[in-house]
Symmetry: C2
Subunit: 173 residues, 2 copies
């Protein structure tokens, strides 16, 4: 993930601030409800925060292992499972990686825009997309769940640098 893409540097801008507050809120909320906030779980969340983007489970494992040699893949997956259940982490199916949720206080389903050139991920809560998806679901008898919708494409900086501009597909017809 971050090894294969020129991932954006984790800045200390207002976004990181927000995430930090979010982190504290999540940790507190978790503690007060009988769910345990353990060393390992905290470590996973903080590693994702420090990264500022998506990481695979094994990349997380590598990072945690530096500070705690006993970290295992299974442990990382357990912690990720815990945070996903809590709504604090999303899984990116299309890149098999994990990322902090930027709107953990909202119950709405969101969208994740993923640049397949640089790996950047932008999380949104677009009413239009959500409504259109729900209407479609209704029409076909599906009740959609709240996993964020993944939309892949190329972000502006990558287009500007000439990395893949075409929407592409259809070599056949």
């Amino acid at each position: 993930m971050s090894g294969s893409h020129p991932m954006r540097k984790p800045t200390q801008g207002p976004k990181a601030q927000t995430q930090l507050r979010t982190l504290e809120r999540l940790e507190a909320a978790c503690r007060t409800r009988g769910r345990r906030l353990t060393r390992q779980r905290r470590a996973v969340l903080r590693a994702l925060l420090a990264e500022g983007g998506a990481l695979t489970a094994y990349e997380l494992h590598e990072r945690l292992r530096v500070a705690d040699g006993r970290s295992t893949p299974a442990g990382v997956y357990r912690a990720l499972e815990f945070w996903m259940t809590a709504g604090a982490v999303h899984r990116l199916e299309s890149t098999r990686s994990f990322i902090l949720c930027e709107h953990p206080e909202s119950p709405h389903p969101g969208q994740l825009l993923i640049c397949h050139e640089c790996g950047q991920v932008v999380e949104t809560e677009d009413k239009g997309v959500a409504a259109a998806a729900n209407r479609l679901g209704e029409r076909l008898g599906f009740v959609l769940d709240r996993h964020p919708v993944e939309l892949t494409g190329v972000c502006r900086p990558c287009r500007a640098q000439g990395r893949a501009a075409e929407p592409g597909r259809r070599p056949a017809t």
Copy 2:
């Protein structure tokens, strides 16, 4: 995939007819453009058609191996890659499986509604969802590509049978 879910039986209704025509058209189109339509590629496409739903690469491998003991996972992945490039097969990221495209003649990005109870997949080309997604992309500087959008939920039959009705999430806050 089909082993773990009570997958719908492949019917011989009008849909299968359509798919069959589609199959022939694809095979022909492929042949006439310098791309090779080989035994293995044909076998993969036909196995997906026969299934009438999604299959993982290894499930496909199992099936092909019956008729041709030399089938390998690598070969299956290569054939799938070929058909995906041709727009004839979609990959379902959320279930790591593959399914025939039902609208291979259309260049529009589609949606895949996936029931996570029974595994059923419905492919659509909803203008509303597509437009909303593109607007969102524009707003954020992303040019979206044409991978179908995956929407997961529970289909009507599964809700009727009491399998999981709730949209669910948020045990935390």
